[in-house]
Amino acid sequence: MACDEKKRGSLALPTIQESEEDLDNVILEDIIRASRKKKECRTPSKKISSAEKSKSSDSSARKRLSRQCAEHARVKITTLFNQNDRYDRSIYAVSEDGLTSEESSEAFQPIADEEIMPRGEYGGDSEDEEAVNKGAELFGFGWKTPRKKTTLRTPLKTPTSALKQRINKTPNKTPLKTPDKGRKIISAQTPQTVRRQLRNKIVKVTSQVLEGNSDAESNGSESDSSSNDEEDRNELKLRAAKNQSMDITVNTEDYFLAQSSSVHTSDRTLNRLNNPRLSQEAVDSLMENFDDCHSKEKILLMKEYQQQFLQWIFLLREGFNILVYGLGSKRYLLDEFRTRFLDGKNLIVVNGYFPGLTIKEIFNSITDGILEHSGTFFSTVEQLEFIEQEFNNTKIEAYLIIHNMDGPSLQFSREQEVLCRLAAAPGLHVVASTDHINTPLLWDQRKLSQSKFVYFDCTTFAPYSEEISYENSLLVQQSTTLGLASLVHVFASLTFNAKAIFILIAQRQLENNNETNYHGFPFHELYSECRDRMLVNSDLTLRAQLTEFKDHKLLRIRRTPDGTEVLHIPLEKNQLEEFVQKHQE
């Protein structure tokens, strides 16, 4: 054993360390080794120690050689670790030049702005590093990596940061450091109690580490949460991409609580505001001047996602389709992808949020625009079959970009069925985005497996300005005034009888306005009343009249549970009153 010690001593490097730290390392290492052995196998092998022993009897010349070797190795290891770290960043990384294409769209202008974004390269350029540091100070979360302190990512990671640094320092030395030397120091300098305390502490930490060893993800999240030593760009990536704690607890009781409790809200209305109804233009012009405080972070996020583009292309080529989800408009992202990687290819961009979109329109743009088919089709089914047949092999390829696959006109089972069938065609590559929280309910198992989506969490936080511009917003805006205006217009062009019928319905509605269970004017009552007043002569003429109202959205026809048809004017009470008063004269 003495011989053994000597040999180990010879391997020692002239590393000058603070004794306590060294002590930590030594103890820690021993414990780790011991527990690892215990854990690993039922039949512990003695190979390691025997090998060392056999070697220990070698000559001194051999020792010198090994010392040199060790010195060399230490250098090598440190470089390896550094390299390892820089390697982390660049799996799908594209160079800066690749990222900022010349024709980047307007929305993306800030990304090209070099002042905000430090370069993505880590060549050790001092300027770059400065920029990075600056960025770190600016944004509060830097990705500065002090290269010297770079840590080895062994599976052993300690959750507590205080001890973590120590442990993280170890691997740099461990292969080369002498346990024996450390032990001598222990006996010389450290009081017994301190030693015991320290040992206990380390045992605790180590056992935690070993327990957590099996689950990388929890491990990863731990390392994320103690932020100090992994402050590189990767952190953002991990945070954004991994989403360690991706579970929300759903309490079913909450549903019944929410449904059973009666609604208590104040009766205050927007009329109390100085300007209760802002017009769309006013909102737009106001928002134009408003700048968001998180623009830098958002740009960083976007940049992060753009690094996935190569992966996307590869996946698309392998027959998968891409689906991006997450908060924030993904239009810019997909547009960026389109301009950068799909330029000059067969491409169809579908704005799912566009209210007038039909599946027929998508089909037509494929058959007319891409396939240049001149014939016509009897039905959409036939057209779909034709498209499927054409794209059945990869002879013709086309890329289909669908913004908001769950948009208002696509959020139906039939449309989704068709889209998934398109996605299943080998020649058609789909890149789609979804926003609505209930989108997953649209897809059954068959659709899911058909569409072969690969999911990407792209939470951009970008405003949905384009998407909501079509939406008839429930708030404040002009929707109701528009309704009244259109009513006045349509009403002016009606015949006398038709006007009278409409007024009749409106009056009845106003009379019953306070009744909560008033569903509408029953059709047969209206008919008898109209006949009494000699406004219509038959059931059919009344119906024709009502259909006209319905087409202009002046009227809604519903069926009550008991089967009677009732008529209802979709207008606010005060507006209807105003209207009736005006036209009764």
């Binding site: 390691i48 691997p171 802002l278």
Partner: protein
Amino acid sequence: MATTSSFSKGCFVFKAKPESSGKSPRKKTKKSSNLLHRSNGDLNASSLFGKCDKSSMEIRQDSYKKIWMSTKKKSEDIISDSHKQLLHDVSQFVSENADIGQSSIPTALVALGVNLPDHAAFFSLLDSTLNAHVSPFVAMLNSKECPSLKNMVLKAIQKLTSCDLADDDAEKDEEADEIVPVKPSSKIKTFANLATWYSNVVIKTPLIIILQDLESFSTQQLQDFVLLCREYRVRNKLPIQFIMGIATTVTLQQQLHHRTSVCLATKSFQSRPSIVLLNHLIEQLFMNSSVLKLGPRLMQLLLDGFLYHDLSLSSFLMRVHLIIMQHYITLPVSSLCCSMSELIDRIKKLSAADLDLYRQVPSFMKFIENNRSKVSLLTDDKEFRSFLQKSLEDLNSYSKDFSLSCRILHCLSDGMPDALFGKSLREVYINFLIGAESEDWDRFIQLLNISTSYELQSRIQAALTTLKESDVSSALSDFSTSLVLFSEELKRLEQAPDTDTATSPKSPNVFVPKGKKLDKFELKAQLLASAKQARPTSKFDEIKSEFVSWLNSHLARQLKSPTTILFHEVFYAGSQVQSSWDIVPWIRRQVQPVPRVAISKALSDPASYLGCNCCSSNGQGSQILSTMPDLCIVYKLHTECGRLINLYDWMLSFNAIQQKDKDDENEEIEPIIQARFIRAVAQLQLLGFIQSSKRKTDHVARLTWGV
């Protein structure tokens, strides 16, 4: 490129430039592979050694393609193999009922299980089988293409007749003269037409109509269709037959009216449950000398996805595809993940930079940590190469032995109470891949210890047969010899009824001593004493203990999880590696995508995505900070409300948060705040959290509950 937003249309087409479309396919692949290389170039440019090795990337890409193609082919074979019996049965049923003697329609009900995505594979197999062996007239219908009865009839007839046309084309070459002129199929639109068409067909084989998803057809439509078919079967002697695919266990009687169901002469067929197929697939794909295997975490993940989510093999295979792809692309050390025959060649080709990558593999680092004497491996490339080769070969043979040992253990533990390591071979394999608990092993040994001679004998025999079935590698050949030895010894024991057992029962019967009543305590004491008495060991006990100790020493060693072996990261996808090489989180997101959670999380804790300090809530989830994005503030405010939300009050609280810093407490809302609020509410509506409500003026309805 042109803008893609417009107020008049929602579809924009960009046609590829004509010069590129001329030879598009090849050019495209080239282009994208260039892109791939570019990424690789960048990736290497950033390495310290600055050596650009495109070759490594190419090798990895090639191996990915090769491995995936072989996996795909293998799995397809396995699936078609597993359906063979069912296909045979069904086609036999069809050909048996080919005559039109009976008035009811012969119907094969095929129960396929709830894994809908897998049905397509079965039906295409069925189609080809029927075409080849029974009849060319097969019409495959699914509910999606038949929204109404009219469509259904048209589709069925079109498909029946078009099959014939295609068939004709094939036959034309052989017997061109015998072809009876057939009406163009487009004119055949009714069953009456079909009957006349059929009367002209030479070979009178049955007309088979396959309804892929019986449950999805509307009842009325189905009934009408069945009655129609039956009518023509009886009157016009059309030999129509049905094959119906069933996903659930719904009986036909429930689906159809009695009047209709009597028209069908049904026979049920059952496919094998998909879990059996999965077990088979895992055994074949990952236990039998495949190159790439799944690490414990990924295996668990895939199984969870399969067992708890879809039970679908096709989704399983898609995930395997993704894993293979990610393994080769993400992991730089995957270039050596190849068959052993290629290994030496590839190791030779490795550059110094590549070797350094292999030195970073965690299992190797651990090894070096434990073996200081091998530290020269870090510097000496030549030594490292040979070491690498040896370790990888060892690993390969180890994992072969490992799966074989799993088989043996499965045989030995089969039918034991509690199913210690799992009932199926797949479970045993995964259990040991993860690293089985020693308690289970101890219990297994215990159970073996109390088993009878006959039991033990049969277990050993079963293990021997498995060993014989699989080609025994060198490391395990002594396994079989020792097993044979044990079995022979046991046999000998059986044949010669042991003599020592005859002498042993002499021991005094402590329980009923004659003439003396024992009280409770005395009895207890006696029982204890008798328990302490060493039981005489029989010959059988000796063999058994020998066997057990053999298991403990030999088999247990082979059952150590391969993920503890050096360089397992190369062959076991999803092993624990550096965080950026780790593909498990990515795959997890593919198996369990969480769009809704991602949105909720981003809204309630924006700092987790933005990574800013100003918005981090420090564990207090409900805290609202004025620095958060508007949408998040509005969302958080709305979670405090009930079913209805007053817009005015909502806006006031939004204003209050924005004006927190300012002292003036006027309730005046600035237009910019109002505009921001309007914008945020509209976005919330787009996301589906709220909806306009008519129940109260200026109120919106909340669509979610809880947080």
